[in-house]
């Protein structure tokens, strides 16, 4: 029960910030895909930047566990390509679709219904996918520091510098 309340409270905060960051708009989502408006990229990379530093700090203090998903090239690449097609057509990812409904953009209900149907199809085909696509190029649970053989406090500042340079370039180009 407590974990459900944590989930609900965390979702409320996240939904509030998604709305304030103006990332729940079809125009912002398609704007990113069309390389016209980098609002959602700024939002995502800012959150990753802060979370990366905070979570690794807590990790070093032994306060949290990382949750590393396995790298399966078949699933990651094919799934990513399929997701991109759907994202372009609908204009929302699963979380932002729900947020957009909260803003009153009720047209997203069509897409949410589609997502529930697509999810049911996924559950039906999961055994087949698990024995085919999801076995192709299974590299196990990888992290960037591990692959590079470097301490994460070497990789993190490089990531920060790269993200900040990208932000600087976005602002300079008016994206």
């Amino acid at each position: 029960m407590k974990i459900l309340i944590y989930g609900f409270a965390t979702g409320i905060l996240f939904g509030f910030l998604l709305q304030r960051g103006q990332v729940l708009r079809y125009e912002k989502q398609l704007g990113a895909l069309r390389l016209l408006d980098m609002t959602i990229v700024k939002f995502m990379l800012s959150s990753i930047l802060v979370a990366m530093v905070g979570i690794y700090l807590l990790f070093d203090l032994g306060l949290v566990k990382l949750s590393v998903k396995p790298t399966i090239l078949g699933g990651n690449i094919l799934g990513g390509l399929v997701f991109g097609v759907g994202w372009g057509l609908f204009g929302f990812c699963p979380g932002t679709a729900v947020g957009a409904a909260g803003e009153g953009r009720w047209g997203v209900l069509w897409g949410i219904a589609g997502m529930i149907v697509g999810a049911a199809v996924f559950a039906e085909t999961y055994p087949f996918l698990k024995s085919t696509v999801l076995t192709w190029g299974n590299l196990g649970k990888l992290t960037l520091p591990q692959v590079l053989g470097l301490n994460h406090w070497i990789v993190i500042p490089v990531m920060i510098a790269a993200i900040l340079s990208l932000f600087y370039w976005f602002e300079k180009s008016g994206l």
């Binding site: 965390t10 979702g11 079809y26 959150s47 729900v98 149907v117 999961y126």
Partner: protein, 146 residues
């Protein structure tokens, strides 16, 4: 009176302009990063949404064919019931509604303006495209384990 009217209209523009632009995506994103850190710290949970749609599909299917849902391998691994993430997704709806109402951003909208400019305002065309796109997107997201 003229002065007052001008002041009000100028003020009105500023207010609506502000609400249209919202907060800086850098600020809202960085605050989201903080929420992520506290979530991982306090409840051990990382953000995600797509699995909840599969659970919802399972919950709905359970209404008509519960024994079939019980046998599907995906639902054995991910039981179709409410969990942290499902409540998280529900929270997004409420949080976004609260922010939109609070800052005057709430608007009923069937077809997004950018879509209308290119493809027209027909709700069914947009709706069917969104439906198909949503179905494809969630399938890809689950396949990539994203």
């Amino acid at each position: 009176m003229g002065h007052g009217g001008t002041f009000l209209s100028v003020k009105g523009k500023t207010v609506s302009g502000k609400s249209r632009e919202g907060w800086s995506p850098y600020l809202a994103g960085a605050l989201t990063g903080l929420v992520m850190v506290f979530s991982v710290w306090l409840s051990g949970k990382f953000f995600g949404a797509s699995t909840s749609f599969v659970r919802t599909a399972g919950l709905l299917e359970s209404l008509v064919a519960p024994e079939r849902v019980e046998r599907l391998p995906y639902f054995l691994e991910n039981p179709p019931k409410l969990d942290w993430q499902w409540m998280f997704v529900l929270g997004i709806l409420l949080g976004s509604y609260a922010a939109a109402k609070l800052f005057g951003d709430f608007r009923w909208e069937a077809v997004p303006p950018m879509w209308q400019e290119r493809f027209g305002s027909d709700q069914v065309t947009r709706g069917l495209t969104a439906f198909a796109g949503g179905a494809v997107a969630i399938f890809g997201a689950r396949l990539a384990d994203g």
